[in-house]
Subunit: 413 residues, 2 copies
């Protein structure tokens, strides 16, 4: 865990209210870290519906394998998250470790093991000694409460410099429901249909297949549109749980993703998930600038996304931003290497509101001084107009600094 | 140009003999640098055959456009290379600049403009004032000589810390021929069917279509198998010129790529081009370790290449190597994100001769101490056995250090 908080961090952790039906506790299991919490247990009532999206890595972690299977039932009762060890590339021992943990959690919560979801984050390839959870889980169940959420967000951190949370409310058929989310990120961030770790909870009464549809749609323009270092993790997990407790207050049970009463909830969920995704980028390892890359005028949105990712993942673009250098030539190179339709002589590039290049060359009105001043800001907006069609996509990333190299040269040893 | 020579540099620039028919001179045109040469003129006799491979960037530089057109004739008389300005994304001014330069060079050499090849390297997006070449080119023609090649290699450097050259001899039908090559690299190195800039000259008598076949085949496992930072340049250019002067000494004219008399020449050419490609990696910006990544056991060689590139381009793998940390968990993650067929539980990973992981988990006999000692060496060989088939591919790269970030945060401004 880094000692200095990212300069891009929000000013404070937001106040998250309790979500009816959701209680949790954290503990120190001594997985890897000393003197800090590293386990989160979340308890939820019978009938809680859940959905998840996970890494597309061909080498997924044991907990990802576990969750994919457990979610087939749609209904869950508990979630156990640990930091310090990813339980990834740990072979049969890793699979046994997930079975053991789910079994112990199920015993403590009085449910079946396949009603438990698991997530682990930290070092890859080290065996995880799951027996360390044994004494901790029953105690967590005893202490579980509906607040404070900052504790839950802190227990799942690894190299994160601040805890990440967000809250929203929405009405479903006139009944107010709450959505809370927490996330962790920092490095190995290039989510592919998922994220590092993020957990979202609501008291709304929404069936699992509907939750899945909402989630799969929402990640496309949030967690799947961010990148810190182009490295997709083995452990990316985003889970959405709905306790349904709002039904007691008259909220309808939603059984179809096209139910019109979901409009407000969907918007609130999308905003919350995007907020968490941005918080992950703002805590990118060594990040000093928060960068949005908006590509428009591409032949379609998939093409716009590929170009935007090519720019966002370019080490040369990222180091230039770290150096506060409006080096748009490197953006041209990144557009060029994306392999997508582009006509050099139609491209326009903007830093903030300043057009620096157009018609295949430097903008004649370009002022190095003005744009250099803009580059000193913390938030950098890059807009690229490909000039061919109507495809648009926005990706968020951060710069590549010496601190990133330092953190990642030292992390394991 | 960096002041400190890369610790991975060869001990000395090799002695390159003259290549019959090839003369050259360098000059200070003041394109960008002060007090160093920045222009190279190479003169070749009538009938010289040439072939080239170029960047696949959708935003190629003006000289790349020029060469693609000029090479249609197959026969050339001169080559002009400048450093300090890439003449890329320079619009109509850039195209005019290439026409002007080729016109001036043709006048000085007494040939047609489309017998002149051009290459530029340096900053992207700045207009190139081609009139600066006017007084320089006739003088270069007057001074042109067959040696010393180190001067040619120096004139084309940008952030390179040492000049790059290689030489080889081969016999064709019993007649000895010479091959000389020079290259420049450093950053924006992820060649896609080409390289940054490299020029190879021989006195063999080989027709242009044959040269093209030899070159296209050779780059696949050399320049197209290296990566410094995953950033493909707008200017990648590799040109092979054959003066045919060895014909006077009895060398046969080769008109078919399948001519068996080419066997020795092909091997010598492949070795020379691989040597130059390795020299480019060894001068990767900020590089402290030279890394070979050999993937075997993949379903086919294209799949092996994709996995090897995914590992080689992973910032987390590269920073771990910079930190001399045998962090094989990050190699697992990079294999996983490649999207190619892989079965977690069949993968084996080696650092040098040390197997660190097998059967989906850490090798029980793994000694952290032994492998940590290995990681302190300058040359790191990573072998990954996917365990599925017979596909094999090797990629070469370097580590990602704080110096890379420093160099690229400061380069332009």
């Amino acid at each position: 865990m880094a000692s200095t908080v990212s300069p891009l961090a929000p000013s404070a952790f937001p106040t998250l209210p309790a979500v009816e039906g959701v209680t949790f506790a954290t503990a120190e299991a001594g997985i890897r870290y000393k003197g800090r919490t590293d386990v989160l247990l979340v308890a939820m009532p019978a009938g809680t519906q859940a959905a998840g999206v996970f890494t597309r890595s061909k080498c997924p972690s044991a907990p990802v394998d576990w969750c994919r299977n457990a979610l087939k039932g749609g209904s869950i009762r508990g979630l156990i998250v640990n930091s310090g060890n990813a339980n990834a590339f740990t072979g049969k021992i890793g699979a046994e470790s997930t079975r053991h943990t789910a079994g112990q959690a199920a015993k403590a919560l009085g449910c079946k093991p396949d009603e438990i979801l698991l997530a682990s984050t930290g070092v890859i390839g080290e065996p995880l000694d799951a027996r360390k959870f044994d004494p901790v889980l029953p105690d967590c169940v005893r202490r579980a409460a509906g607040e404070p959420w900052i504790d839950a967000a802190k227990a799942i951190m690894t190299t994160d410099t601040y805890p990440k949370g967000a809250t929203a409310t929405a009405t479903i058929d006139g009944v107010s429901v709450t959505i809370n989310g927490i996330a962790k990120g920092a490095g190995m961030i290039a989510p592919d249909m998922a994220t590092m770790l993020s957990f979202v909870f609501t008291d709304a009464a929404i069936d699992a297949p509907v939750l899945q549809a909402l989630l799969s749609r929402s990640v496309k323009t949030s967690f799947n549109a961010i990148t810190v270092d182009s490295d997709t993790s083995t452990s990316d997990t985003l889970i959405l749980c709905a306790t349904g407790m709002a039904a007691k207050r008259g909220a309808p049970r939603i059984t179809s993703p096209s139910d019109r009463r979901l409009t407000g909830f969907r918007k609130a969920l999308d905003r919350l998930i995007l907020d968490l995704a941005h918080q992950v980028v703002r805590d990118g390892e060594g990040a000093r600038h928060f960068v949005s890359i908006n590509v428009k005028g591409a032949t379609n949105s998939a093409s716009a996304k590929k170009i935007a990712k090519s720019i966002a993942d370019s080490p040369l673009v990222k180091t230039a931003i770290a150096g506060e250098d409006a080096n748009w030539g490197r953006i041209v190179a990144a557009i060029g290497k994306a392999g997508e339709p582009a006509d050099r002589d139609r491209i326009a590039i903007f830093f903030g509101e300043y057009r620096v290049a157009a018609n295949g060359m430097r903008d004649p009105s370009y002022s190095e001084e003005t744009v250099s001043a803009y580059m000193k800001g913390q938030n950098i907006a890059i807009t690229v107009d490909i000039g061919l069609g109507k495809g648009q996509f926005t990706v968020w990333t951060c710069d590549l600094t010496k601190e990133y190299v330092e953190i990642n040269g030292d992390y394991r040893s």
